[in-house]
């Protein structure tokens, strides 16, 4: 047994209202830069729908993930090492920018500088790729809320796999939202595809990252990832992907997408797993066996043997404690209501989903029956094969039994809790029917409905004695990284040279420069960058405001009298 810790996430799809707050805040935090305008580390898809990039689930086209070869051994679906190297000069399976979408901005200059005229001037869309005027025809979220509509539904890869009858009935059935981030897989095929070895899995927390200094832009990871969650920055020529907001999780904060989630549907916690059994699980012969196989890889942190092994493996004591309180562990293994997304890709993904019960409830309610009655709900789950089949294609490689079981558990909880809320005697027969006790059911209800911030996000911070090495903890000037502005300038080849900027150094001026530049290019003067994350709102760091006309310099030099003894210097 070789115990490793993995930060994992569970999303409760019943609660997702498709507001895209996660996508927007993630974009503002991480991909608000040149070359990644088209990149969404977090995106929310309407299901049924094509997803982003379009039809990314069609692995016959994109060849992502792993597959078993004739001898039953695990191989990359996109081909082995030699094949990768022979196709390195032109990757035959790379999605083009059209499969994502051509990013654009608007020609606002026409609006602001237009002379007085009879007709209102128009800001025309301008491509951020070629700089020319363009016609907007697609984007990451173009088919939002159009799930199941004719012309789009038949292009859904998952829907294409379920039967014809189901497809015809689908648009009357249901629609739900699927937020997606990088899966931070236990067996990442992007890392396995990287010729340079630049993509790695962190031993401490299992986060999959791209070493920007080692990436050479061979583009094989984009093909290798079946979820298409590694993106190519076309300006720097490097791969970029979701980082699980490691600068935040290292200090115990949840990721930006979780922090800002309006529906509070995301849970973050640790999973302990046995690294020795990963390959065996990924090699499970039957696709439908992969869900159970992956659950077998996870270890029970309450087991003293596991805890002892974990300590021997160098996992800190407080991390083991955190694994015991992990909501993710509870949802995956204790209550067994969370399922992995597309386990058939054999990457052992670590962002799991609680499938939505609401479509079933809605149907029951629409027929005028009691939508909280367990009998009605169970019957509906049995009768409504369509959502179950579709969900099974997403979460269990097509096996309806686990999805069925999850929906029954959720339905049982709904009925059981209604009795309690109305002051009736709880019917212990209901949890019994789904193999749970009343107490478990209540705990599950607490976790799904009431859990507060510290229960939803149990993130053990990285250790204080290592704090100085954590990139984003400003124990020094945050701009004093090597080659950064604090050390005197950027590399000789412009923005995309020199050292990579620490991820948090992203600011107002860069944004302003980019939004006001005539052409899509990097800001020329980076010396005036200010890290707004470190600015406490007092004082005025140099470069935050334009210089005063009287030559007094930036406002910080002359604080207003009423600020008294307040701090005028920004905190480091």
């Amino acid at each position: 047994m070789r115990v490793m810790a993995q930060l994992a996430m569970v999303m409760n799809l019943d609660k997702c209202i498709g507001c895209h707050t996660c996508s927007v805040t993630c974009k503002q935090a991480w991909t608000n830069r040149g070359g990644v305008e088209y990149v969404w580390f977090n995106n929310v898809e309407t299901r049924p729908g094509q997803g982003y990039p379009r039809r990314y689930e069609d692995q016959e086209t994109w060849r992502g993930g792993w597959t078993l070869n004739r001898r039953g051994r695990l191989t990359l679906k996109g081909g082995g090492r030699w094949r990768k190297l022979l196709t390195i000069f032109a990757n035959p399976r790379l999605p083009s920018i059209d499969d994502y979408y051509e990013p654009w901005t608007y020609d606002y200059d026409t609006l602001t500088n237009a002379p007085l005229q009879e007709h209102t001037p128009v800001a025309r869309p301008r491509s951020l790729i070629s700089g020319r005027d363009m016609k907007i025809s697609w984007s990451a979220n173009w088919d939002d809320d159009l799930g199941g509509s004719p012309g789009l539904a038949d292009r859904d890869v998952v829907l294409g796999q379920v039967s014809e009858k189901v497809r015809l009935e689908f648009e009357q059935t249901f629609m739900f939202y699927l937020p997606r981030i990088c899966e931070h897989c236990l067996n990442p095929s992007c890392a396995a595809s990287c010729p340079s070895g630049a993509i790695y899995k962190r031993t401490e927390d299992g986060i999959v990252l791209v070493d920007q200094d080692r990436c050479r832009g061979w583009r094989m990871c984009v093909t290798g990832c079946p979820y298409k969650k590694v993106y190519f920055n076309h300006r720097t020529g490097k791969a970029e992907k979701c980082t699980f907001c490691f600068p935040r999780t290292e200090v115990g904060l949840p990721t930006v997408c979780s922090e800002t989630c309006v529906g509070r549907l995301r849970y973050i916690g640790l999973m302990l797993y046995d690294a020795d059994r990963v390959l065996e699980a990924a090699t499970t012969p039957d696709d439908t066996g992969l869900y159970e196989a992956q659950r077998e890889v996870f270890l029970d942190p309450h087991d003293p043997r596991v805890a002892a092994e974990a300590e021997r493996a160098g996992i800190p004591r407080d991390w083991i404690e955190a694994a015991r309180r992990s909501p993710v562990h509870a949802l995956i293994n204790t209550y067994r209501v969370a399922l992995p997304l597309h386990p058939e890709y054999r990457t052992l993904p670590m962002v799991w989903y609680i499938p939505p019960l609401s479509p079933v409830v809605d149907v029951v309610r629409d027929t005028g029956h009691d939508a909280e009655n367990p009998g009605n709900l169970f019957a509906a789950i049995d009768a409504l094969r369509i959502p179950v089949d579709y969900l099974a294609r997403l979460f269990t490689a097509g096996d309806p039994a686990p999805v069925d079981a999850v929906l029954r558990r959720l339905a049982a909880m709904r009925s059981y809790m209604r009795d309690i809320n109305l002051g009736h005697d709880p019917d212990e027969g209901i949890p019994d029917k789904v193999g749970m006790t009343g107490e478990q059911m209540y705990d599950m209800y607490r976790l799904l409905a009431l859990a507060k911030y510290d229960e939803r996000y149990v993130i053990p911070p990285a250790h204080a004695e290592q704090a100085h090495q954590l990139e984003e903890l400003a124990t020094e000037c945050s701009l004093d990284y090597e080659g950064g502005p604090g050390m005197g300038g950027w590399g000789p080849f412009g923005e995309s040279s020199g050292g990579a900027a620490p991820v948090a150094v992203e600011n107002f001026h860069m944004l302003q420069q980019r939004q006001t530049a005539d052409r899509p290019s990097g800001p020329s003067d980076k010396r005036t960058r200010v890290n707004l994350l470190n600015w406490d709102g007092k004082g005025a760091p140099e470069g935050l405001f334009p210089p005063r006309p009287d030559g007094a310099g930036p406002g910080g030099a002359n604080p207003p009298a009423d600020s008294g003894a307040a701090e005028t210097e920004p905190k480091p």
Partner: protein
């Protein structure tokens, strides 16, 4: 040390010059000194680039913008240039004695070299032409092209055209030229640190220009996108599929917290 080598080269060049009565300074500069300048710039430039610009060390692929032309042009160019590279190793590094000892006649060697070299050269040139056409005509690719790229493309094209022209002019149109008696020994003499500039004197002008343009290409190499060649991912064939890396080197053994301490 370099100055000692150059002095040596000057002396070597001056020896026959005594017979002719004139020592050619240019000869020494071009074939005795310039190669060392190029090597120094190439090596130190790469060290500097790797030390200070790892982030900029990339292929800067433009496949995301355009795939149709790239799919043809890029493999054509790259595989072509790899064969050309192997050919140059065979022609410049391996002495004529060795191939003769292996029983390969001069005629057989040249036949293979000319046929293979011409085919590979034409592939490379065609690929390069497609790539340059693509770079100029496809909008997004052109707007992602820097001045640095343009200079690199110009020099690279010059080197390849001159090399191909030299081969064609000497061996297909002309009566044949055995560069393994002049250019190759000179090339090796540079690396033995006993440069012999005089060997290059009688060499046909196209070969001379090809060599000089190659020296220029190697001198600008570390400062262009060509650096990606030095990190060709050969290691991929042997490394394990999944790379695990620790967050950072730990400062030291950490004391685990006691079980009763607060954990969050």
């Amino acid at each position: 040390m370099i100055s000692a080598v150059v002095v040596h080269a000057a002396r070597r060049a001056a020896e026959p010059a005594r017979d002719n009565g004139q020592a050619d300074v240019w000869e020494v500069l071009l074939w005795g000194a310039l190669p060392y300048v190029t090597i120094a710039v190439f090596v130190l430039g790469h060290y500097w680039r790797y030390r200070y610009d790892k982030f900029g060390w990339t292929t800067r692929s433009s496949q995301l913008y355009e795939n149709r032309l790239l799919r043809v042009g890029s493999p054509l160019f790259h595989f072509g240039i790899l064969v050309v590279l192997l050919g140059h190793i065979g022609g410049l590094v391996i002495p004529e004695r060795w191939t003769a000892a292996a029983g390969i006649s001069e005629h057989a060697y040249h036949l293979v070299a000319v046929v293979l070299g011409t085919v590979a050269g034409i592939c490379t040139l065609t690929g390069l032409a497609i790539l340059i056409y693509r770079r100029r005509t496809v909008g997004p690719v052109f707007s992602a092209t820097t001045r640095n790229d343009k200079l690199m493309y110009a020099v690279l094209t010059l080197v390849i055209v001159l090399g191909l022209a030299a081969t064609v002019a000497a061996n297909i149109a002309g009566g044949g030229y055995n560069y393994r008696e002049t250019v190759s020994p000179w090339f090796r003499s540079v690396f033995y640190l006993r440069p012999d500039p005089h060997l290059m004197v009688g060499v046909p002008i196209l070969f001379q220009l090809h060599a000089l343009s190659a020296l220029l290409l190697f001198a600008i190499w570390p400062f262009t996108r060509l650096v990606h060649m030095l990190t060709a991912p050969i290691g991929y064939l042997t490394r394990p599929y999944i790379v695990y890396r620790s967050r950072d080197a730990r400062l030291g053994a950490r004391a685990p917290r006691r079980g009763w301490e607060r954990t969050s």
